[in-house]
């Protein structure tokens, strides 16, 4: 049980940021803009959030969960603003979305390390105190099984992630606005003819995407380290894989991120599971598991991929 509990916690730490960032990608791609910049936006959001956290902690202005929420908010705003670059290029100027995304992926870590080195005299990382884990809450922790699983040694961000998932689903499938945004990714000319402002919708899609990716960045960083060096270990790219694997649908994205997180958990925690440890299989193969499994599953599921049809194409009014 202890092992299971530990693995479940680990799984959540991998799963929630992946889920949030993949959903971030969903907003952008559903509105018709390929967002390969997720990695960069994550880094930029996390960078601003963690930098703020460093100063607030050093001068002891805020602490605890309030500090966490403020820094998440800062990361969200930073991510949203950073993604504006992508929106301007790909919506207003009809630029190649892959190129602009690649530029942002390159820019974010460069800015992060550059600024960190200037502030901290040549050190490329920002350190902070992790004071956000909640060991237990009254009542909730006492619920049998679920209490121990979800409400013991947990981060608030887990519930933020679940909230974002439900919100995304509700937005895309239960609101008129969400339906319109999806239309812009499928057949923008028709959407335009129906009186929807395609440009505005795509701007919104990219900005929401940036906000969520920024949030995803900081909630990835906080549990795994206390010294942020402007890297998120390729999580933005993995989230892109989860998005495609999840076939651009919220609940399938959730399933895909849980699947990936389970593989990832096995690859990092096989040491504490006697069966896996004694099997004689090289640790490398456990580490390979999430990537190989994704490849194999994609090979079987990609035939009927449901990518938004107009995704990646600049909107051309004259094709109407």
């Amino acid at each position: 049980m202890v092992i299971f509990h530990f693995m479940f916690d680990q799984m959540l730490l991998f799963c929630i940021p992946l889920l949030v960032v993949a959903l971030a990608g969903l907003f952008s791609e559903r509105s018709g803009v390929v967002n390969i910049a997720l990695e960069g936006i994550m880094i930029f959001g996390a960078f601003i959030g963690i930098l703020l956290m460093y100063f607030l902690q050093t001068y002891e202005i805020l602490s605890g969960q309030a500090l966490l929420l403020v820094c998440i908010l800062a990361a969200a705003i930073a991510g949203g603003l950073f993604s504006l670059f992508h929106a301007v290029a790909s919506v207003s100027f009809g630029a190649d979305q892959t190129i602009s995304g690649t530029a942002l992926n390159l820019l974010a870590p460069a800015i992060g390390v550059f600024v960190a080195k200037l502030i901290f005299n040549g050190t490329d990382s920002i350190s902070f105190k992790n004071e956000f884990i909640i060991s237990r809450v009254p009542v909730l922790t006492d619920i049998p099984f679920i209490g121990e699983l979800l409400f013991t040694n947990f981060y608030l961000t887990t519930f933020l992630g679940i909230f974002i998932l439900i919100g995304t689903w509700f937005f895309f499938y239960k609101t008129k606005f969400g339906l319109r945004m999806r239309a812009c990714g499928e057949f923008p000319q028709a959407a335009d003819a129906a009186g929807i402002n395609v440009g505005k919708m795509r701007y919104l899609g990219v900005i929401i995407s940036g906000v969520l990716a920024g949030v995803g960045g900081i909630i990835y960083v906080i549990p795994v380290t206390t010294s942020f060096d402007s890297q998120v270990a390729g999580y933005g790219f993995l989230a892109l894989a989860v998005l495609i694997f999840g076939n651009w649908k919220p609940w399938r994205i959730a399933t895909a991120s849980v699947f990936f997180a389970i593989c990832k958990t096995i690859s990092t925690t096989y040491v504490i599971v006697p069966v896996l440890l004694n099997s004689g299989i090289s640790p490398t193969y456990y580490k390979l598991l999430p990537y190989v499994a994704t490849l194999i599953l994609l090979a079987f599921t990609s035939k009927n991929s449901a990518a938004p049809k107009a995704c990646g194409e600049p909107y051309d009014k004259s094709k109407r």
Binding site: A89, I99, T102, A103, L106, L107, L288, S302, S305
Partner: protein, 358 residues
């Protein structure tokens, strides 16, 4: 007409470069206004700062990224975004060191060539998997390439530890200078710089790729499939074959890039930390800067390594070397606007044209 297009393309990338450099200068100025001009002079004189030796270093650093850039550009021409260069690159690097270490029955005068080709083949094998998955199972190439990157990185770390481990430095063994790519006098010519004839191989391969793409039926088919795979299939071209072969060739280039970087005899070794090869990602920037044209890639690779070196020297002024990435990112971002810049330049040309006639 063709000339005019070329001029417009060159001008729009020059505009992007100038904007990038100006933004870089603003950043340096905001950092420390007193040394900004001096530091930026060093940056801009990059490849000549220490005379001909610096020029040699530029050529040396350009070598691997020229190949990864060519790899991305070549696949792009066939409509495939090969983001898998870090994996193909590191596989090529590993294979070349492996060959140099174990195949000592081959005379050392040709061993380097065998190692390079083996590295290229390893890269090709690595790239062919996403190609096959795309052609037959419709798997998104970006995703399969990313997965192949991580798989390649982890396997190479395992194999390095197993076969070519240098336990004192926790890295791979290095290639001895006897087995390295020869320099044929370049070493002395460039005042003891690391450059070797690999740079000619890299440039030669770029020219070869240009020739394949633009002067052969095969190249035409690849480009046609990249432009519109359905129309090409209708015209009787085998689009599946084209995707697989173009990925294979792209992987071959990236693998050679890795082999060139690690068989230079400079003591460079594969690290066992779990980080993807940066040269692979630089290749993407270079392909984009070079307009996915093999000849453009040559220029872009030389340019990038020129300012990288400048940025390295500029650290003496306490400006973090990451300034280069900021500048390059800004240049690439601006080049995303190339279509827009192009239109402005075209209308400018038209005005001049009209002015002349009147």
């Amino acid at each position: 007409m063709k000339n005019k297009n070329l001029i417009i393309a060159l001008t729009s990338s020059l505009v992007a470069i100038v904007i990038g450099l100006i933004i870089g200068f603003i950043v340096v100025y905001l950092t420390d206004s007193s040394i900004a001009v001096d530091a930026y002079t060093v940056l801009l004189s990059g490849g000549f700062y220490k005379g001909i030796k610096s020029t040699g270093e530029v050529l040396f650093y350009a070598m691997p990224v020229m190949m990864t850039g060519l790899s991305v550009a070549f696949a792009f021409k066939c409509g495939v975004f090969n983001i898998g260069t870090p994996g193909q690159y590191i596989l090529g690097a590993f294979t070349s060191i492996f060959v140099c270490t174990y195949c000592d029955f081959i005379p050392s005068s040709v061993l380097w060539l065998v190692a390079l080709i083996a590295g290229g083949i390893a890269g090709a094998i690595w790239a062919i998997i996403p190609g096959i998955l795309k052609a037959f199972r419709n798997v998104n190439v970006v995703i399969s390439c990313i997965m192949m990157n991580y798989i390649g990185m982890l396997l190479v770390i395992k194999w390095v530890k197993q076969y070519i481990y240098n336990s004192t430095g926790a890295t791979s063994l290095t290639v001895s200078s006897a087995n390295a790519v020869p320099s044929f006098g370049l070493y002395d010519f460039f005042n003891r710089s690391n450059v070797n004839i690999g740079i000619f191989i890299a440039i030669g391969l770029c020219i070869l790729a240009y020739f394949i793409l633009n002067k052969t039926t095969f190249g035409f088919e690849l480009k046609a499939v990249g432009y519109n795979s359905e129309a090409s299939r209708y015209a009787g071209m085998d689009d599946k074959k084209c995707i697989i072969i173009s990925m294979m060739i792209a992987g071959f280039f990236a693998g050679i890039g890795g082999a060139l970087a690690y068989t230079a005899g400079t003591g460079k070794s594969i690290s066992t930390s779990e980080v993807l090869a940066a040269d692979g990602f630089t290749g993407i920037s270079i392909a984009l800067l070079g307009f996915n044209n093999p000849l453009g890639v040559i220029c872009a690779a030389l340019f990038i390594s020129y300012i990288e070196l400048g940025g390295y020297y500029m650290q003496a002024y306490n400006i973090p070397v990451e300034i280069i990435d900021v500048i390059v990112a800004c240049i690439i971002y601006c080049s995303a606007f190339s279509f827009f810049i192009r239109k402005i330049i075209e209308s400018f040309f038209e005005k001049i044209g009209k002015g002349g006639k009147e």
